[in-house]
Amino acid sequence: MTGTRMTRKQKRLAIISGGVGFIIVAVLLVMFAFSQSVSYFYVPGDLQKADVKPGTRIRLGGLVKTGSWVRGEGTTSTFEVTDTISTVKVTYTGILPDLFREGQGVVAEGSFVAGNPVFVADTVLAKHDETYMPKDVADRLKAQGVQLSGKETVK
């Protein structure tokens, strides 16, 4: 420091106020980030109740309905995600995970486009384990009364 030397009190004050300032910035940043970049998890049955606006990023979980998986042009696939009560059509461009199978649990991340009931996914998750059901999906399906045994198949 140039000029007059700081007293003990001033030094301490400078360090503490700098620290508190930084923490306040961090807290505001965390609050802002939570409002911007957190995605909610839904199963198809929730979507009618919850008013999900087009463009809002969500995670859609459930089981891949048997017989619904269609490989379209090039790298685009469509399939239906179901919680056995209601069903949502999903389209995804890219490589599906190795464990993506009809009748098994899946989580699709993406959003709805205005005026179209098809969910556009940019990420599809299925865990690397043959008896896997994403925990979020399993919990919600159980809550809806769907019986789970580990190896899930839904007709």
């Binding site: 700081m6 030094k11 939570f34 090039g74 979020d136």
Partner: protein
Amino acid sequence: MIIEFGLYALVLSLATAIVLSILPILGARRGDANLMAVAPVAALGQFALVTTSFGILMHAHLVSDFSVANVWENSHSLIPTLYKVSGVWGNHEGSMMLWLFILSLFSALVALFGGNLPATLRANVLAVQGWISSAFILFIVLTSNPFLRIMPPPPEGRDLNPVLQDVGLAIHPPLLYLGYVGFSVCFSFAVAALMEGRIDAAWARWVRPWALAAWTFLTAGIAMGSYWAYYELGWGGWWFWDPVENASFMPWLAGTALLHSALVMEKREALKIWTVLLAILTFSLSLLGTFLVRSGVLTSVHAFASDPSRGVFILAILVIFIGGALTLFALRASSLTAGGLFAPVSREGALVLNNLILTVSTATVLIGTLYPMALESLTGEKISVGAPFFNLTFGLLMLPLLLAVPFGPLLAWKRADLLGAAQRLFFAVAAGFVIAIVIWYFENGGPVLAVLGMALAFYLMVGALTDLWLRGGFGKVPFSTALRRLAGLPRSAIGTAFAHFGLGVTVLGIVAVSAFQTENVLEMKPGQTVEAGGYALKFEGMQRGQGPNFTEDRGTFTLSKSGSSLGTISSSKRVYTARQMPTTEAGIRTFGLSQFYIALGDVMPDGGIVVRVWWKPFIVCIWFGALIMMVGGFISLSDRRLRVGAPSRRAKKAAVPALEAAE
């Protein structure tokens, strides 16, 4: 019979650990040297028993003894020997045994090399290690016994999870645990110091080598895990901000802060209370990580099994140890005297800034990791906090730290000249921008932000070298004198420069991949060519193949640049026979610091195949930088200062066997 002996040894080790937990503390209270002398004997005895038990489990895996449930569930007679060994910790029970083995190893090292610590401190430190050991042995014996038998023994095992059948499993967990669990020593030192109510610069000198060793291994473990996930999962990503990754990253961040604050305490006797608190918090985050990964509250590749009683048990361990240590801290911290004075602009000031930013960043990662769980248990609402959250908060908060890193070593202790340091770093800033713009030009443009990011990376690297350059006096004294001075610098200064340089290299990799990576998802038919990163990639076709325990469809691609062939890359889809589980083996080719990355998708009805092709410029820098940081850690560990003076010399030696154990 031998299996039962393994369990017997484990139970005996529990008895030893309980003795270690109680007698030395009584001895330290009463000043009874005989009772205190129990500590090293018990610690070594416990290590021998745990090693025996762990060795018996490993033997069962090696000889494929399927009468042991743990072997039957996680091994197969046909898998290569390497996976039989690494499969020992490729499951919940075995990984807890590895955790315990490394914890006992660290206790034994403190016992062996802590001979010159004050007798009461050593007794107390070892006793605290004994508490932690007792808790975890009890956990293993009660909820996660790896020695359970099944009768009659099945003829064949159920195979190791195919994703884990990789050399990564042999390296990543031991390194990670050496780091994770290594911080237990710092924790024990902190708790022991609080119990004695006495703490001084010497304490920091004893703790620092342990913190440094743990940090070095943790750096290597995290980097190894990141690279493993990158090539094994076939998603092309190297960091997902997955809660399990965060669980290992938080102790790393806190440990980095601890290293730096212990430096202030050692040199200037300041930040004592803070350093003790950080030592407690760092290991608490390790424990929290163990809870998150092992309790089954998360589903991930790391959560092998979810049994609610295990979760509750680990949570209890977590609450007792963290709660107990923090209570002790609250009771005793006021009796610790505050240390030396310093101006805000000084080496100490810079290290305080480092600590402030690192701990606040750790807190944001913690909030982002725990918030979804807290929200779900409170309201039932399920949310996901992913990469966008962490990139925004953590990324922005780290920025001022990265800018400040090269300043730190250039500032004097007590009171420093900020303007002078800035002038000396001018060259680093200028060089950073020049190199960044040149690379930007050769990558054919890209976001302008990339130039700033790369300039930051090169500024970090050149800044780290600037410190060595100035200390050597290059340009001021004859070159040979400067070289001699450089060689005579304390190893810790050279280690610092390496670590800070490595940080710059990692930042470069992150920035370059985010800015210049190209990704192409397309359907390819044999003979078709796709262009990426200036290379032409031709799909030759698919062949069927057979491995020791899997069948595969292998796609072969030839790579060429402006007409000249550069060889082939192959990527395959495997199905592991025992579990009928499919995996994708990515095809990776490295050119300098950049990589080509190919992952196969589904075969289409018309004979084509979906292929995902990435060009990842400078990606190797991400892990290479971590490697340089690790080298910096080891150089710093070999510092004379950590050897000079009896206790510190011993502490330094202690790191060497730990290194051997990792190999």
